[in-house]
């Protein structure tokens, strides 16, 4: 008895050490960015040589950065909404439908995950040129919707696959039309998957460079592209400060979205 519990305590210690190490590996780069953003030096270097908030002020005073921040939020929110509007109904068709070619359709819907984004970005640029569309925030939202939708689809299909159709049958037998059964029963039960998918879609949009790079103009520039452009000519810690701001925004929206979905999911 005592030997086995001693062993398990030892195992627990190893596991804790491992978790600590992994956390450090994952968080360390972030820590470096954080430290640099408060530096007093004019160039990015490590370890930092002092503490100041001047780079945060320079971010706020940089019109391109502030414009890109607004754009990124609009694009990320709009493309996430579109991804949900397309991905959730599509997941019902794929998870509940019985028709030939269903697996193929599912694979096709997920295929944009396998195309390198930079290739996809170039293709989009040509597509809009051929169709005669001017690049705008709409074309950007379209591009981000295409990469966000597979995440929503994937997580929604996963929950539906685990959820027996018996709940929908029960709702229908009790007088609910297909739409009401979906709205009152299926959708709340899918909330976990939808939430996860929405979070992914939001993140892949807000951090995306490869697609945005090709289809943005000076007016609809996004945060990562602004950072990318800035760093081609400057090497000061304001990009670190801007990255920290971006990270806080993402964290805020994810937590907010999760809360909202959770309270909406329980009626």
């Amino acid at each position: 008895m005592s030997e086995s519990s001693g062993k398990s305590r030892w195992g627990e210690r190893v596991l804790n050490g491992y978790v600590f190490l992994m956390t450090l590996v994952l968080a360390f780069p972030l820590l470096v960015v954080g430290l640099i953003s408060f530096d007093t030096a004019e160039y990015i270097n490590f370890p930092p040589s002092g503490f100041s908030l001047k780079w945060y002020r320079s971010v706020v005073e940089n019109p391109t950065f502030m414009l890109s921040l607004g754009n990124s939020l609009i694009v990320a929110l709009a493309s996430t909404a579109c991804a949900l509007l397309i991905g959730v109904p599509a997941s019902l068709v794929i998870a509940r439908g019985r028709f030939p070619g269903r697996d193929l359709l599912y694979a096709l819907c997920l295929s944009s995950l396998t195309v390198p984004w930079i290739v996809y970005g170039v293709s989009l640029l040509f597509l809009w040129a051929v169709l005669g569309f001017n690049l705008s925030i709409m074309t950007l939202i379209f591009g981000h919707t295409v990469i966000g939708t597979p995440y929503v689809l994937r997580t929604s299909v996963a929950v539906l696959a685990d959820m027996p159709p018996v709940y929908e049958h029960a709702a229908r037998s009790l007088g609910a039309s297909p739409l009401r059964a979906f709205w009152t029963v299926t959708l709340p039960l899918m909330a976990v998957g939808i939430r996860a998918g929405a979070a992914f879609a939001f993140i892949v949009s807000i951090v995306n460079i490869p697609i945005s790079l090709f289809v943005t103009t000076a007016e609809n520039i996004t945060m990562p592209v602004a950072v990318f452009n800035y760093m081609q000519y400057n090497f000061d810690p304001s990009v670190a400060a801007f990255s920290i701001i971006q990270m806080i925004i993402i964290a805020f929206f994810i937590v907010f979205a999760v809360r909202a979905a959770r309270s909406g999911g329980v009626s």
């Binding site: 027996p164 018996v166 709940y167 049958h169 029960a170 709702a171 229908r172 037998s173 009790l174 007088g175 609910a176 039309s177 297909p178 009401r180 059964a181 009152t184 029963v185 709340p188 039960l189 999911g265 329980v266 009626s267």
Partner: protein, 354 residues
């Protein structure tokens, strides 16, 4: 009514008339088409051909929500994101019952199933039996024309199952609600039903009162599926208006039950364990079937004791109920007996099929 998936026939032919207030079971092994039949009545499967009527209303073109059904499922299927009240209220809400009327009706439904104290609980806080009670209240609260039960007791343990079976049956009688019950458990089908339809390979083999099903099986499948018994192959030798003579490997059987096989036809005769008696002498006074056999093994089952008897010409054992004999003396394995089955207790089925 018919249902096929591509070339696979799931339900070949079903023709059932269920009276108002009747409790009818669809009983059969898995894959016999009983669940598909229920799903067609509920509206989740579309029949390939045929019609479904509920209370003079043709419903086979209607979606499930318009059929005025109540349903119970094996997995309870209570909505996990709603509490007990919201679950029971759901059907009333979907059918547009005014809010003021819903409260009392939910209350009454919960009273019926003795769950009044659990109104605010979440389904996951309830035991399986309690969840199934709430599911019953939810199915009944809308006062459906027909109640459909899809193996609702098979996930419960034995004691709880028996308790709920009795409760559902009592409630069904009290409310007089027409009920279709799908199950693979013959005991609960016999226990609960006014009539049982035994299904096999997409067809109804027999649909009758439970007593008839056991006492007068129409096909060898029903005989084998309901209760226990032994089959012996034979050939019809003679048939008159009152009796038939059938030659079997273990002797000639006299049969007084009406049967359709003409002389020369290959048949299988069948009898129940409780109708096979062990007798001491080979000279049987009554007509029927008598044959010698050796006791191979005894199975004590509480109220009954079954014996597997070995006959010389066949590998297949003959099952005999020893319950009544056990007071005289306890037979031992290896003992030799003569078994007698009265002529009125022998059933005859065609040899073909099953």
């Amino acid at each position: 009514m018919r249902k096929s998936y591509g070339t696979t026939l799931a339900v070949e032919h079903i023709d059932l008339d269920i009276a108002k207030g009747e409790f009818v079971s669809l009983l059969g092994p898995s894959g016999c088409g009983k669940s598909t039949t229920l799903m067609m009545v509920a509206g989740f499967e579309v029949p390939t051909a045929g019609e479904i009527h509920i209370r003079d209303r043709r419903v086979d073109a209607l979606p499930p929500e318009k059929r005025r059904i109540g349903m119970m499922f094996q997995s309870y299927a209570l909505f996990p994101h709603m509490n007990v009240t919201a679950n029971v209220e759901y059907g009333l809400r979907m059918r547009g019952v005014p809010k003021a009327e819903r409260g009392p009706r939910v209350q009454r439904a919960l009273d019926l199933v003795h769950m009044q104290g659990f109104a605010d609980r979440a389904p996951r806080q309830l035991s399986g039996g309690q969840q199934q009670r709430v599911a019953l209240a939810r199915a009944l609260v809308t006062e459906p024309d027909i109640l459909l039960l899809d193996e609702p007791f098979s996930a419960l343990d034995r004691k709880l199952r028996e308790e709920l079976q009795r409760e559902v049956r009592d409630l069904q009688r009290k409310l007089g609600i027409t009920t279709i019950f799908v199950t693979h458990d013959q005991e609960e089908a016999l226990l609960m039903s006014d009539r049982v339809a035994v299904m096999n390979e997409g067809r109804v083999e027999q649909c009758t009162r439970p007593q008839n099903l056991y006492g007068a099986p129409a096909t060898s499948f029903v005989a084998k599926f309901i209760g226990r018994g032994s089959f012996v192959d034979g050939t019809v030798r003679e048939r008159s208006a009152t009796q038939s003579l059938i030659d079997t490997a273990i002797g000639q059987a006299t049969i007084t039950r009406p049967q359709e096989a003409a002389p020369g036809a290959q048949v299988r005769i069948f009898f129940r364990p409780e109708h096979a008696r062990l007798v001491e002498s080979t000279a049987a006074a009554e007509p029927g079937l008598s044959f010698p056999a050796t006791l191979r093994s005894l199975y004590f089952q509480g109220a009954t004791t079954m014996a597997e008897m070995k006959v010389e010409v066949s590998e297949e054992p003959i099952v005999v109920d020893l319950s009544e004999r056990s007071q005289l003396h306890t037979p031992a394995e290896g003992d030799r007996f003569t078994i007698h089955v009265p002529a009125t207790r022998i059933h005859v089925f065609p040899a073909m099929g099953e």
